[in-house]
């Protein structure tokens, strides 16, 4: 059986290799450690970042804006499956918003197969579906004074009792609700619903420092670095002892 001999050369190589391997990581640990050591001085716990790259590392995603309508000086929009009045989340719907109108102190939002009625404050009055007499395949929504109009399957329907009952009409109604361009400032306000303030810099530096920023990979990577540091220390002591002997 061949004996494994630990030579001075091999120990020097281990020391050199582990030294180079941990060098970059020690610089990283030192810099993030200094930041963490001065969290309060630098107010890192009060500062937040909403960088898309950093938010993605924390699995915080902001859905894209789908549709938006301007009603009574408020923007009604849908981001992902969440519907908003301005930046207030109100209901969820996977169907696109067809139109939105304000009448009789009620906000009506039509989707393809249902209509949502909300108070001015955003409180849900009702979700009206076809079981309650609303036509399916809604194409357009409009309002004239106290009458709500729907266009579905190329027919026009009207309701004068807050969407409780619907009837076909021959009315030549053509003032349908149309999509409106939502200003960037308003979009950012809605996006803040998903991202909150963002991630605090203290949390970010802490997760950078302890490897949590890359989840389990970070944990295993830190274990590897710990093993390298042990090898570096042991080989260093071994080399020092050998030098002292001669």
């Amino acid at each position: 059986m061949k004996k494994i001999r630990i030579t001075k050369k091999s120990i020097n190589q281990i020391h050199k290799f582990t030294g180079i391997a941990v060098c970059v990581f020690l610089i990283h640990l030192s810099i993030t450690g200094i930041f963490l050591n001065h969290t309060e001085d630098l107010s890192l716990d009060e500062k937040y970042t909403a960088s898309p790259i950093i938010l993605a590392l924390y699995n915080i995603s902001i859905p894209n804006k789908a549709e938006s309508f301007s009603v009574d000086n408020n923007f009604i929009s849908r981001f992902g499956d969440q519907v908003f009045i301005e930046n207030q989340p109100v209901v969820k719907s996977e169907e696109p918003i067809i139109g939105s109108v304000f009448s009789q102190q009620i906000l009506f939002i039509a989707f393809q197969n249902e209509m949502v009625l909300l108070t001015q404050e955003g409180e849900l009055i009702e979700r009206v579906t076809s079981a309650a007499g609303i036509p399916e395949n809604i194409e357009k929504l409009g309002a004239s004074e106290d009458i709500i109009y729907l266009k579905a399957n190329n027919q026009i329907w009207e309701s004068s009792d807050q969407a409780q009952t619907w009837a076909l009409t021959d009315a030549a109604f053509n003032d349908w609700s149309r999509e409106a361009l939502m200003p960037d400032e308003k979009i950012k306000q809605v996006e803040s619903y998903f991202s909150g303030k963002g991630v605090s810099l203290e949390q970010f530096f802490l997760d950078l420092h302890n490897g949590n920023i890359i989840k389990n990979v970070g944990k295993w990577f830190l274990d590897l670095i710990a093993i390298f540091l042990l090898l570096l220390s042991i080989s260093g002591i071994w080399i020092w002892l050998k030098k002292r002997r001669y």
């Binding site: 108070t119 409180e123 849900l124 009055i125 009702e126 079981a131």
Partner: protein
């Protein structure tokens, strides 16, 4: 493989079991009446809040009434998502209760007739069901949601009669 099977079963559990329209067609022999609605205002709103332990999701509740039976399509949160229930009341007793749409990943077992048959014939006694409902392990919140909706629909049916 086990994970795939578990995932498949939870995905299978979510979804629409019966549409509102089909539910009403089944109850009223394909000829459902026009819907009516109740506004939850004042004392009625407070009573509903007492039954559920929180306000109902909407201010207006839709119902159908024909052949001395009322049908209710109501929603209640299971754990995080609303569950849609269909309830039929006749002679102040539950004639049928069903899960129409389930959106949670757990607790879908409440849809089985073996569980829902416990509610058949139940009536209201001081705003509570007149009987105990046996739970299902792992579906406690869904069982509570269905029990609350059974009590709510019986209460609303009683409210209509006393109007």
């Amino acid at each position: 493989m086990l994970i795939t099977l578990l995932l498949a079963s939870s995905l299978h559990a979510r979804g629409i079991y019966q549409t509102d329209k089909d539910f009403l067609a089944e109850i009223y022999d394909n000829s459902p009446p026009k819907s009516k609605s109740i506004m939850l205002l004042g004392d009625l709103r407070k009573s509903v809040e007492k039954i559920l332990g929180h306000p109902y999701a909407s201010l207006r509740i839709r119902y159908w009434n024909k052949d001395d039976k009322t049908a209710w399509i109501l929603e209640e949160i299971g754990k995080t998502e609303p569950i849609t229930f269909g309830v039929v009341i006749k002679d102040s007793k539950i004639q049928m209760i069903k899960v129409l749409e389930f959106r949670e990943i757990r607790g879908w077992e409440v849809r089985y007739p073996a569980f829902t048959k416990q509610f058949i014939g139940a009536s209201l006694d001081k705003m509570k069901l007149d009987r105990n409902i046996d739970g299902i392990s792992g579906a406690t919140l869904s069982v509570w949601a269905m029990t609350s909706i059974a009590e709510l629909s019986l209460y609303l049916d009683e409210h209509l009669k006393n109007k």
